[in-house]
Point group: C2
Chain length 286, copies 2
Amino acid sequence: MTPTVVACCQLAPVAGELASNRERAEDAVRTAVDNGASIVVLPELMSSGHVVEDRRQALACAESAEGPTIRSWARLAAEFDIVVVGGFCEVAQGQLFDSAALVDARGLRATYRKVHLWDHETSCFVSGDAEPPVVDTRFGRIATMVCYDLDFPEWVRLAALRGAQLLCVPTNWPAGPRQVDATPMEIVRIQASASVNRMFIAACDRAGDVPGTSWVGASTIVDVEGWPLATAWQPGGSTTTIAYAGCDLERAADKDVGPCNNIHLDRRPSLYRGLVEDPSAGSARQ
Amino acid sequence: MTPTVVACCQLAPVAGELASNRERAEDAVRTAVDNGASIVVLPELMSSGHVVEDRRQALACAESAEGPTIRSWARLAAEFDIVVVGGFCEVAQGQLFDSAALVDARGLRATYRKVHLWDHETSCFVSGDAEPPVVDTRFGRIATMVCYDLDFPEWVRLAALRGAQLLCVPTNWPAGPRQVDATPMEIVRIQASASVNRMFIAACDRAGDVPGTSWVGASTIVDVEGWPLATAWQPGGSTTTIAYAGCDLERAADKDVGPCNNIHLDRRPSLYRGLVEDPSAGSARQ
């Protein structure tokens, strides 16, 4: 079986430049398709650039899920019969969301609103309150969530339990202090998440200069065992580039990890009730 | 503040050799203490060796939590005022458990019975049904679980939510196919688990020959950001050795990951209910 080629387009959207950001994304999707990609992932807030400090600015950059950005992605998806997953600054009934859209040849299949907001995002965006969607596409079942959501293994697990074979994650990973030249922890975390769920993960980070923030540039596609198939990361900083990997998504349908073990069936949900309790209930024994 | 030295004693217990395994553990604990360790972690099934195929053999090697192995660890803990966490083959009311004990100068503080059983362990052992214990010690709050339990991020999260600053994990990690010379996925997973919980993790693997099985030998101590502080792992196979790391366990009391974010408070427990549902309820959306 021919693997499905997944592409992560690590682009540099510019804050407030909606038209040129749309063009950037379109050009990258076309390039990715030329190189064989069937599933194309774009960064978080691809439509608007990194507008998270000032609600007015964010509102000026926001579009609905029927706006020009998603329409443009849907046109590309229809033209090439591909899936596009990307982040956009969404407005709905006057509220702003840090959202991801999944489109295929049929059009918009799912919108996801980032649940776990990072840093000043709370001053612009409202937190979503729905699980990561899992969409049946002609390539397999694809889920999406956004950036900091990935730091919550509960959230990734839910996507996997709902049947996702590939999790596509638009991100803006701000660079922080870390061991020089070591694999960034952002990649380590998706490796682990993929391996404990036997699910492919394609995280698409951004590049480009933003005042006060630099980016890890760690767009990476990992397989069901957690091994990176492709990464845009390099020591020294982020670059605008596209990472490609062939993924046999059928592998993610099989959760066996040995002759007697299945990573999902071995779960003990009745013992996990502490995860859904009010956090103030937690305390050390003794 | 002087960091607390944690030691993982990657030993080679021999199946069925209870007395010599006890001696091996005692020698290693004394060596670790000589080198400054205050918290000493021993492998899974340290008392009995790898007895997981034959229930009769396992029963012959089993001890109660008041048996000679735990008494010997408790004596050492009292003598040096340290904490010892190690795995033992436990019998209680005729049932066998793949257990971990945590002892300190006060004696046996907690017994944990492995909940997520691996491979043929189910033919010998009964699965536990209690959460990982979190014990207040003079060094900080220490939790324990055993080996395959670690592959369930729900379980690690529970330990962290209950206040664990250090998670000590006796393991027997069987070696499987993997990318040559790449960091074993067992280490990648504890790195990620530590980083998303801001909790130290000390996993103590085993070494030594067992017919049909070799070991990753990946005993590793990682800090609250997921960076390995010390590892016994080396390409080519497991060795008998002790890995040491100084850990400032107070760091694990702080779950902030930025000026606006706290990895535990940012959780959305009410949205995680799918994690405690019957797994057959899961299905992909259209």
